[in-house]
Subunit: 735 residues, 2 copies
């Protein structure tokens, strides 16, 4: 069977464009049938061909393809017209009959729009999991397995992805995913320099080197500005520049009232911006709540840890040491999840009109939570534990009381005086977050879900087999393949589709968040341990391949979304780099040599000197950023240039056509007065003319223009004036 | 004669669109005649009518008007097409034959382009004072005197200008000037609040009130962000949005080499951006030079002043007190002029390709000079004199030595110990800069030039009369009117034109600079004396009228330039407001009560506390700015909304036409399979079909799509699956 399947990717997918999983378990059968009828009818109306197959016990798979060329072309043409009107495309699209999708992702995007867009805009209006279509569970295209396998194999032998590889990703998964990989690739390439430089600094200068810190800050600025250029470049290359102007309405948007828009003559739901702003103010208490909730957990665990590892010396110490770690890993994710759900609710409450606005607002809230969980522990060590430990540690006696029964009084008191600050603690922590945590993260993200998926599949199969056995109790054991009433030609294909339908949805912002937080460690704390970029360089090589593997193997293929930027994460990167200029300076001042006191605490730290260092560092950072930004805007990436040239050429063609029109017109022009004879103009002749005009009752202002007929007369008059003036000027000079 | 001139503004200008002053004094007469010939010929070719009259002894006035409707229309149409292609206009311009200028300023702008734009772009290519046209002294339209008089009269009785008044300015002088007045008007209106609030604070709280400072900072943020909105609003109202995208080439641009641009197939002069960047680095030494040169002058004069007024008590004190003021007013303008000329040279050296880029760079350099001259004296008083005077004053003995001969030794020493810091000095200085200097400035700017002009005119007339008398020595005295060989109908008009030709060029950036610097005092130092906004409020009421008077009476009418912003000054305003958040906090901390030492110097100032205050103030400022900015972008000004609606409507019309096309097409569609009979589908029938296909050799992937014919069959299959699954699920549930 397998040998008859041709290697052509589309064929191996049986020309299927989309699969719609229709869930009928929740509603009763007649209603479900009716609804399915409507679904298929709507898809047909829009010009799509359908085939129905069994999904699992409670779902159907509706296979969809755009078989009618005409409908597809029309949808394509319409989408292009819309792009052109919004300024995404430069040139007016060619006629409808010759419209062809330029890439697989464009084809899939158009078909997705045909399925989901409302009837008024020319689509079928299927909204998965929403409203009347709540039975429609998912709409997804099928993975192109051969391509995916090929890519994974190719990339594992490469250091850098070529632009063509990125184009390939974009063609398969759309621009949104393409931008993530482009970013990861640029970031990886840019990390090479700080990795090398950091390694040398680590060898030669050790930690807290001023040179490393300056270079690192500068690198952050240049990287971010460079990436902005790259974004422009890719958005021109992928023809998505300005695509964020085409905003899709959010289905969940609840207008406060319907308003009749007089200028467009439409009913339009509105929600006042001021009201939304008031709601947005809730972000402030939310951020404070997050900070307090997470801060308390982190600070408590931190205090316990210090107490146990550095003060406590009683029984069970070897076991007790793990308490704070266990507490942290149990409480932080729980609290994060709670906070994230609050953030989502807040975001829903803010009631955004468009999907991009909603996403941006949510991303910002998620960033706040992540900022606290990721960086607060190190902040505590650097800016609370090290300078103030000798003041704070005595208060940890609160814990001491609880263990008093176990230790003799003498021991306890002697232990307290022995306490001294561990100067290596900061470094250890940074290493933990930049190496161990990254590896753990990767495993959690890529390997664990795969195992989970496999187990789930086994479990499902086991269940089915058990049920099957129950039914055909006294027959032969049902074969796995024949579980559903599939045609033998399709068994393999359908099994694959069923597996894909069970996979998770892929969310690109999750991966972007991870990279952004990673960048934060580099910007904020890398002077503590200059090997940070080395670790990230290695990690990101694996990360890129791992993420691709994840999309291909563990997630449903995402429908190709367009994008012209990595969105609000760019702003977050800028923010982190800015904060980095502050923390780097502070760390450098506090921990570089010569500030250590007797207990390891830096006694010689002077408040004003620290603040002055920060002040200068921050403002120099801002100035340099301004300069780099100004310089970067002057350098035009190749694709932007190409795009500009195209625009220019189009303009030129238009203008030339109008100028050309003019010169051909001119030949038959009616103003033929330049061939007129020049007559002597004197005071007398002028007065004569004036008398003539008054007889004809000419507008006195118009007379002004009748004294010289044609430019030759004007020229003549001018020459006369010059001639007369010349001797005068000369006499004057002579005088 | 005067009674026959109708009140219609155009008539009183004899329908003249532009006056070109042609200077022939420098070249010999034959060459001048030839050149004049060429000028008139070119103007004619482009479709303009000309009349020549005598200017003064060494110049001609060429009167120009667009008499041929067709040429004007074509130029207008071309300009609109260009706008449309650059995205300035939303809708494709109507056909050439129906194109009419919408306002006087559009008409004048088009004609100016016809005169100045190179031949390739369809103009006459006259470049005043440049290249072959160095004899062409000026190209200017004539003032519309009735309108001007009417406006001055109207406005003197109004508090606020109405939007219609601003439209009037824009229609007369173009958008660039319109934006200046719109800004001034917004600024004036916005000043009302801090003026009132400042006055109450001054009464109730005195200087250095924390409430006033916070409100003032907040006001600055809101004003700037509000103005950005206003800019958008006006640029939509005046249809110039995105006009900065239409960049005019700079004539002075010197390309490094000519490059053949393959994509556009044109020769194009290029100058590498990196090279320009290296040249731009010269700004750094320039800024340092300016700071040092001006700083030295200011600091020296300052030291002399302190010495004389506060230490020195010898003879001639009453006269010596004026020395520093005289020195300052002599040296600072000289030095500023020198620096400004250096800045211009630097800017020329940077060799910008477009005029806007050149202007922006120059503006930035001028801003640096102005920042130093305007604010350094107050900075010195606040941050050097007050905190460090007791350390520095002893070194002023250097001057002491010079006056030692005049005073007895005993006197001198006794005087030195008596020195104490004058805490009121800062306030006095701020009052000087925000009241006295503003008034002096206004006088220098408006009244002095008028007197100068009048005197110059008198002198010219006197000279002429003298010459005339010399020539007609033994005849009757020549009448003033008959000095030139004018037709009596035109004498009055020509006299006026000659006067206008002698006027200065108007430069709007000069006025914007003045306002920007004024805003700086408010942002930076107003906590010192809360009446600052009151003074500015009064000043700006006069300023607005004075500036309008200046344009009308003392300057040539500017040709209407388009703009969609006040340009780089906006950035300067933002910068000043930012610095204001730092200085305000510092001033507040240093001078609010409780910090004064015995000699009036604030001894209790703690470095870390000061820096911490600044740190928090600045970052709170930045956060608030971020929030205000985010909030402001949500509020859409009315004209922006209108513009968006128009764009939306256009898009809708286009899209509707394509959707409409579809439904009419659909009726004759070829896919008629939905009327097909539904047959029972069983495993057997499927296999039968499969056998059929293998006989016909169908693509196996295609077979997948042939099992269900039409959506009704699909629906039927689906219903079957649901029916079969239902009991199973129920059995499962029951189990």
């Amino acid at each position: 069977m397998a040998s008859t399947v041709p290697p052509d990717p589309v064929h191996s997918n049986h020309y299927v464009d989309y699969v719609i999983r229709y869930h009928f378990g929740a509603t009763d059968s007649s209603q479900a049938t009716e609804q399915l009828d409507l679904l298929l009818r709507k898809l047909f109306d829009v010009g799509l061909q359908t085939e129905v197959r069994q999904g699992d016990e409670s779902s159907l798979l509706v296979f969809v393809r755009a078989s009618r060329k005409k409908s597809l072309r029309r949808a394509l043409y319409q989408s292009r017209i819309r792009d052109w009107l919004c300024g995404v495309r430069n040139d007016e699209p060619e006629s409808e009959s010759s419209a062809e999708p330029q890439s697989e992702s464009e084809r899939l995007r158009i078909i997705y729009h045909m399925i989901t867009v409302p009837k008024e805009a020319g689509g079928a209006g299927i909204t998965p999991k929403h409203g009347e279509w709540k039975n429609v569970d998912a709409i997804f295209p099928l993975h192109d397995e051969d391509m995916n396998r090929q890519c994974i194999k190719d990339w594992s032998r490469k250091t850098f992805l070529s632009p063509e590889d990125l184009d390939q990703i974009r063609n398969t998964f759309g621009e949104s995913v393409g931008f993530y990989f482009a970013f990861l690739q640029s970031y990886f390439r840019f990390l090479l320099f700080p990795a090398l430089f950091g390694f040398s600094c680590w060898l030669l200068l050790g930690s807290f080197s001023i040179i490393y810190t300056i270079v690192n800050c500068l690198w952050c600025i240049i990287f971010i500005e460079y990436w902005k250029r790259q974004e422009d470049d890719y958005s021109c290359r992928w023809q998505t520049k300005g695509v964020s102007a085409v905003r899709t309405k959010r289905r969940e948007f609840q207008p406060e009232r319907e308003v009749h828009d007089e200028s467009t003559d439409e009913m339009r739901g509105v929600f006042p911006a001021t009201k939304r702003m008031y709601r947005q103010l809730l972000v402030v208490p939310f951020a404070m709540l997050s900070a307090v909730a997470l801060g308390l957990i982190i600070a408590t665990c931190f205090a316990i840890e210090i107490f146990i590892s550095e003060i406590y010396n009683g029984p069970l110490k070897t076991y007790l040491v793990f308490i704070p770690t266990i507490l942290l890993s149990a409480l932080i994710p729980t609290m994060s999840t709670v906070l994230a759900s609050i953030a989502t609710k807040l975001n829903d409450y803010e009631n955004y009109e468009t999907q991009p606005a909603y996403d941006v607002a949510l991303t910002q809230k998620i960033f706040v939570i992540n900022f606290i969980t990721s960086y607060l522990p190190i902040f505590l060590t650097a800016f609370v534990y090290v300078p103030f430990a000798s003041l704070i540690v005595p208060y940890l006696d609160v814990f001491h009381l609880t263990v008093r029964p176990f230790v003799s009084k003498k021991d306890a008191t002697s232990l307290r005086t022995e306490f001294s600050i561990d100067p290596d603690r900061l470094r250890k922590q940074v290493i933990y977050f930049t190496v161990t945590a990254q590896v753990v993260n990767f495993a959690m993200e890529t390997i664990v879900p795969m195992l989970k998926q496999r187990l789930f599949r086994e479990y499902k199969d086991y269940n089915r087999r058990k049920n099957g056995r129950l039914e055909s109790e006294n027959g032969s054991e049902t074969k796995k393949e024949a579980l559903f009433d599939d045609h033998p030609d399709e068994t393999k294909f359908l099994t694959r589709v069923r597996n894909e339908a069970d996979m998770e949805d892929y969310d690109v912002t999750e991966d972007l968040r991870e990279m952004c937080i990673q960048f934060g460690y580099l910007a904020l704390f890398s002077p503590v341990w200059p090997l940070v970029p080395v670790s990230f360089l290695i990690n990101n090589w694996v990360e890129l391949r791992g993420d691709f593997f994840k999309i291909c193997m563990e997630c449903k293929r995402p429908w190709p979304q367009r994008a012209d930027t990595i969105g609000p994460w760019l702003e977050s990167l800028g923010f982190l780099s800015w904060v980095g200029s502050i923390t780097s300076a502070a760390l450098l001042y506090m921990f570089s040599n010569g500030h250590e006191g007797p207990n390891g605490e830096p006694t010689a730290i002077r408040g004003w000197a620290l603040l002055l260092t920060i002040f200068f560092s921050e403002h120099i950072y801002l100035m340099v950023r301004y300069a780099v930004r100004a310089a970067m805007t002057k350098l035009e990436p190749p694709n932007v240039k190409k795009e500009r040239t195209e625009r220019y050429m189009m303009r030129k063609r238009y203008l030339e056509s109008t100028v050309a029109g003019r010169s051909s017109d001119d030949e038959g022009d009616d103003d033929a007065d330049h061939s007129m004879e020049v007559s002597e103009i004197t005071r007398d002749s002028l007065e004569e003319d004036a008398r003539d005009w008054s007889a004809h009752d000419v507008d006195p202002a118009e007379r002004f223009w009748m004294r010289q007929k044609g430019w030759k007369e004007s020229s003549h008059v001018g020459a006369n004036i010059i001639k007369v003036a010349e001797p005068k000027a000369q006499t004057k000079k002579e005088q």
